[in-house]
């Protein structure tokens, strides 16, 4: 396999030289002004590749914080009687130490703050910014044959708004009243009234502020991604020749651009209710010993606005992971992705349907039961394109020649996770079953597997696969494989048992279970889950160490196309400068998945069609 790649390398250069599109890049010296100094090259950079790395590393830091928080509340759930006094140096007054016994317990307010922050951080900062921000930025220009994004400036701002959002959210962790603690969905009235919870005071103000900046970041990124995909494809790169990664990022950006503003409008109304005495979400409330003036609002309105983003959001998270998986799987299977067009139509169908299913989060929230009829139908229809995708991934492996490495293994793991987590969605999307399952651990198991773990698997596949393009070195394979097996087994060990908790009716967001006879049967299982979570977290540290060590000390990339891939990013130099291609832009003559065609292991997209060859896909 490796031999074949070196042969074609020079050929790619030659083809670009012969057939490439001359945009007079070298004459304008676009690249030069960005090379000027350290700050503009590495910090306030407009190079999409640097911005991608900034998103990735910021996302990784947030992932460690978010996952670390889950360990603390898992300790509470698994070992409610054990002393947590040893966490006092880290958590301070949130660990209440009993003066007589010396036993430290986690304050319930802080438990809820941890749960809330865990969700917010992982959903928005890690799996939206860290995943789509990283790979949309890295791959859209590279795989489309563009010099950079349509607007490098907006792209840079997109990162720095995310950074600002991060700083605000991080700061809110240190408030004396604690960060926001009303759940990542931030339902009013709990989130609207400081009297209702400590975290709903300054913590909530900063939470909204941070997320508004975050949405600006998403918006700036999204506009850029869409414009770049529509306008900056190189010659020959028709939409139907784009790799599935790009299709996924493209649809993701559209979803984000359409849905995130609705969230902001929801937040704005919430801010009015909080600070200006309006009553969009509040009505007939008696709290803190007094009746509030608010009448006529409806908390359900917020839920509609929130989930109008919230549901597309889970596809904003999972579509890029699907795209990455499709790409990585095809390349390392050395076989075209099966049913390319069906995959594209599935992405489009999922994207479209994601906008008309939001109320399936609200079956039990008091909306008219009649509307559930529509939302159940649309929700379960999503299973069809999802199933098509799964079958296509599996068929891609069929009669292939899989090259096993951390990237391809995580791609296969993604498919397994997506199946396991997706199937439980069929239970929850059916309102009749949701009556019992709603807000139980069954839901926790479902969405953690399907959009948490699966999205992380897609992200890991992407990181291991494109690390050579990002840093010119490989990540260590052995540690990568250990990371894979540890995470695959660990994640199932954490989340599989939760299905049984959910069937027993155990509610999520409980600080402890022993107030109820019904929910207190599972202390052994909760211990097991906590231990599994700690061990699995340990395996993630392997990945982090591997990542940073490999940036500086990893095995060097010696050829331009180490994986033998067909897409354009592997026709750039090993360490491409700003502008990506030193000379002409490559032109594209075929789709992205010519693997094993006519006995050739792979045919690069820059390769012209052979005589008598048809583009059949």
């Amino acid at each position: 396999m490796a031999n074949a790649t070196t042969v074609t390398l020079d050929r790619d250069d030659k083809l670009i030289e012969e057939l490439g599109f001359d945009d007079h890049f070298h004459e304008h010296e676009h690249g030069d002004k960005y090379k000027s100094n350290f700050i503009t090259k590495y910090i306030f950079s407009m190079d999409h590749k640097i911005i991608a790395r900034q998103f990735l590393i910021t996302g990784m830091i947030w992932a460690l914080i978010g996952a670390g928080m889950s360990l603390i509340f898992r300790l509470q759930l698994g070992f409610p009687e054990e002393s947590l006094a040893w966490l006092r140096p880290l958590l301070g007054k949130w660990i209440e130490v009993n003066a007589d016994t010396g036993i430290g317990t986690l304050a319930p307010e802080f438990y809820y703050a941890l749960v809330t922050m865990h969700g917010t951080i992982i959903v928005f900062f890690v799996l939206t910014a860290g995943l789509s921000g990283t790979f949309s930025n890295l791959l859209i220009p590279l795989q489309l044959g563009a010099r950079d994004m349509a607007s490098p400036l907006l792209n840079m701002l997109s990162y720095w708004f995310f950074f600002l959002a991060s700083v605000i959210m991080f700061y809110s962790l240190f408030l004396s009243t604690g960060p926001f603690s009303g759940g990542w969905v931030a339902y009013p009235p709990l989130s609207a009234l400081p009297q209702a919870s400590d975290g709903s005071g300054t913590g909530m103000t900063l939470w909204i502020l941070s997320l508004v900046f975050f949405v600006i970041s998403v918006g700036l990124g999204g506009i850029n991604y869409i414009t770049t995909v529509l306008n900056m494809r190189t010659k020959g790169m028709s939409m139907w020749r784009m790799p599935l990664t790009i299709w996924a990022f493209f649809v993701t950006a559209i979803l984000a651009l359409l849905s995130f503003p609705v969230l902001v409008s929801g937040f704005l109304l919430l801010m009015f209710d909080r600070g200006m005495g309006t009553s969009f979400y509040l009505s007939e409330i008696f709290i803190g010993g007094q009746a509030l003036d608010h009448v006529g609002g409806s908390p359900i309105l917020y839920q509609h606005l929130f989930w109008f983003l919230g549901h597309p959001e889970v596809y904003i998270i999972i579509l890029p992971a699907m795209g990455l998986t499709s790409e990585v799987l095809a390349i390392h299977c050395r076989k075209p992705i099966f049913g390319y067009k069906a995959m594209v139509y599935s992405i489009l169908a999922i994207g479209f349907l994601s906008f008309i299913v939001w109320a399936h989060h609200m079956f039990m929230s008091g909306v008219n039961p009649f509307i559930a009829n529509f939302f159940v139908i649309f929700t379960l229809i999503i299973a069809v394109p999802s199933a098509v995708k799964v079958f296509n991934w599996i068929t891609t492996i069929y009669k292939s020649n899989v090259r096993y490495n951390a990237a391809s293994m995580f791609a296969i793991g993604f498919v397994s996770m997506f199946i396991s987590g997706g199937l439980t969605g069929i239970f929850l999307g059916n309102s009749a079953i949701d009556i019992q399952m709603h807000d139980t651990y069954f839901v926790v198991a479902h969405f953690h597997i399907v959009m948490g773990v699966a999205a992380f698997f897609g992200m890991f596949a992407g990181v291991y696969h494109w690390f050579p393009k990002m840093f010119g070195r490989f990540m260590n394979e052995t540690i990568g494989k250990m990371h894979f097996w540890g995470t695959l087994i660990g994640a199932y060990a954490i989340f599989w048992p939760m299905h049984y908790l959910g069937m027993a009716g155990v509610p999520r967001r409980y600080y402890r279970f022993d107030n109820f006879d019904t929910f207190s049967h599972f202390s052994e299982m909760n211990k097991f889950i906590t231990i599994a979570a700690i061990v699995t977290f340990g395996f993630q540290l392997l990945m982090v160490v591997n990542f940073f060590y490999s940036i500086w000390k990893g095995k060097k990339v010696t050829s331009k196309n180490p994986w033998g891939a067909t897409t354009l990013e592997w026709t750039t130099p090993i360490a491409p400068g700003h502008g990506n291609w030193p000379g002409k832009l490559p032109t594209v003559n075929r789709w992205a998945y010519d693997y094993g065609k006519n006995g050739e292991e792979f045919i690069s997209q820059v390769e012209p069609m052979r005589e008598g060859e048809t583009e059949d896909h």
């Binding site: 438990y111 007939e284 199933a387 899989v402 296969i412 896909h617």
Partner: protein, 500 residues
């Protein structure tokens, strides 16, 4: 601090070990040739994939078996409501379909991963698409989904339907507040009274019931939900401060409580608590002692109770909003209901904050009439003159005057009815005061007040020879005039049956 150092030390150690592993394997790959190492890796990983498949499917199936008693509708985990089984069966049918898909797709995924691991000299089969195959696997899930949707929605629309007007049912109310559930029963009139959140006052009126609404006066506020088996129940669900959710896991009941927007859930309990206990009795996990530390404590099945929980995050005490639910036989329910006291009568009536203090309520009129007639009967059968004196407890005068207050009408009407029933009865009406103020004035006032009652009776066609009236001023106290209570007792109007 030392634990911190140990953890830090461990972390550093792990980092060093990981980096060394990385270095060694990179080096080894270089020595042995990267291509050769890749094919070896493929082979090894293929085996691991197969191993994982077997282990994973084995463990999932084993765990399903192990936790079978938590499968909905199976063994001890049966629904205790009429609609529950329809939801449980929807769950189980979905479980069968998804279970089949789960097993088959996982076998295909990992078997292919095993079988098609990269081998030297193999070129994969160019197989970009197959329309027939794709149509099949689009159509099959679509058909299965249709089936599940229809099944689910039929069950859903049945379960969520509100009661119709001619449906016989019990309506109760649950209101979530940080961090407890208030429960309300309609009382004998079968109707819940109106509420206004502005009337809420802690300790006085926790739900903001409007006491001017008669429907509120008999409402009960018990501390647990008690319901008769087999009767349809409509729970009206409300919230006082933030969102809550009314969850009865054993009955497959769940619905959010929303401030400003009452919701509901209709269900019919089908098993009494005792019956449910009996059904748990045979399962070993319920034969464990209820207190793990005390082996002599009663087994779990004996202490089993239905519970009400909150399932919408409502703040730091969210996990503790428990209420007991008891399902009992009809007779037990009626008996329990009889023992409950109206919240208004036991906590509000007659207190300073009772807005109806200057009003006699219909139910009180009834009660007083009953009490009055009992007192009269007792007096009629008594032998001593002392025992023939009956106090008119509910006669009110304008302050410091002898003019009768409107509220006195009911008590006087009771007296008139008695006089009409016993046409031969003659009575003497007497007035008394406390010791406050001038003796002569008191005497005069007591005479005038007794006279006022006398006149009222006359004007109601009671013949004058049957009536006499006298005032005693402060001369015949019943109690000490030192205390307020004593004085209140001493200020009174009485009558004595002279002949009967």
């Amino acid at each position: 601090m030392s634990t911190g150092l140990i953890i830090l030390g461990c972390l550093i150690l792990i980092v060093i070990v990981v980096i060394q592993i990385g270095k060694v394997t990179d080096l080894a790959a270089k020595i042995r040739g990267e291509e050769a190492v890749q094919y070896e890796t493929n082979k090894r990983t293929a085996n691991y994939m197969l191993l994982f498949l077997v282990g994973f499917l084995g463990l999932t199936i084993w765990s399903a078996w192990h936790y079978k008693n938590w499968m909905l509708g199976y063994g001890p985990h049966e629904a205790a409501s009429a609609h529950g089984p329809s939801l449980d069966s929807a769950f189980n049918i979905t479980l069968v379909f998804t279970g089949i898909v789960f097993v088959l797709t996982h076998i295909a995924l990992f078997w292919f991963s095993y079988k098609y691991a990269g081998k030297k000299g193999v070129i994969s089969t160019f197989m970009p698409h197959d329309n027939k195959l794709e149509v099949i696997w689009t159509a099959v899930p679509a058909v299965v989904m249709c089936f599940l949707v229809i099944r689910g929605l039929v069950a859903w629309n049945e379960v969520m339907a509100d009661v119709s007007s001619d449906d016989e049912h019990i309506e109760i109310e649950a209101s979530g507040q940080q961090f407890l559930w208030h429960l309300r029963y309609p009382g004998p009139d079968g109707k819940l009274g109106t509420r206004n959140f502005r009337l809420i006052k802690q300790g006085e009126n926790p739900l903001g019931q409007d006491w001017m609404d008669d429907k509120n006066l008999d409402d009960l506020m018990p501390s647990e939900i008690v319901l008769p088996v087999g009767k349809k129940v409509r729970v009206r669900i409300t919230a006082i401060d933030v969102l809550h959710s009314f969850d009865l896991p054993h009955f497959r009941v769940k619905m959010d409580a929303v401030p400003g927007m009452p919701t509901y859930f209709v269900f019919t309990p089908t098993k009494t608590t005792e019956e449910y206990r009996q059904s748990l009795k045979n399962y070993p996990e319920y034969q464990q002692p209820s207190d793990p530390k005390d082996p002599t404590s009663p087994p779990l099945w004996k202490t089993f109770e239905y519970e009400l929980a909150c399932t919408e995050l409502c703040g730091k005490g969210h996990f503790s909003m428990r209420r007991l639910v008891r399902i009992v036989s009809d007779e037990e329910y009626e008996k329990w209901l009889k023992d409950q006291q109206s919240y208004y009568l036991s906590n509000v009536r007659g207190k300073d904050f009772d807005p109806r203090n200057d009003e006699v309520l219909g139910m009180e009129v009834q009660q007083r009439k009953q009490d009055f007639n009992t007192a009269v009967e007792k007096a009629l059968s008594a032998t001593t003159a002392e025992e023939k004196i009956i106090r008119l407890d509910y006669i009110y005068y304008k302050a410091g005057a002898a003019e009768l207050d409107n509220r006195s009408k009911y008590e006087l009407d009771n007296l008139i009815a008695v006089l009409n029933k016993f046409p031969k009865m003659t009575i003497e009406i007497t007035g008394h005061t406390d010791s406050d103020g001038d003796d002569a004035v008191n005497l005069a006032l007591s005479q005038q007040r007794a006279r006022a009652v006398h006149d009222y009776l006359l004007s109601n066609q009671i013949a004058s020879p049957r009536l006499r009236s006298r005032g005693f001023g402060e001369t015949k106290p019943l109690d000490s005039n030192e205390t307020e209570e004593g004085k209140a007792k001493n200020r009174r109007t009485e009558f004595q049956i002279l002949t009967q």
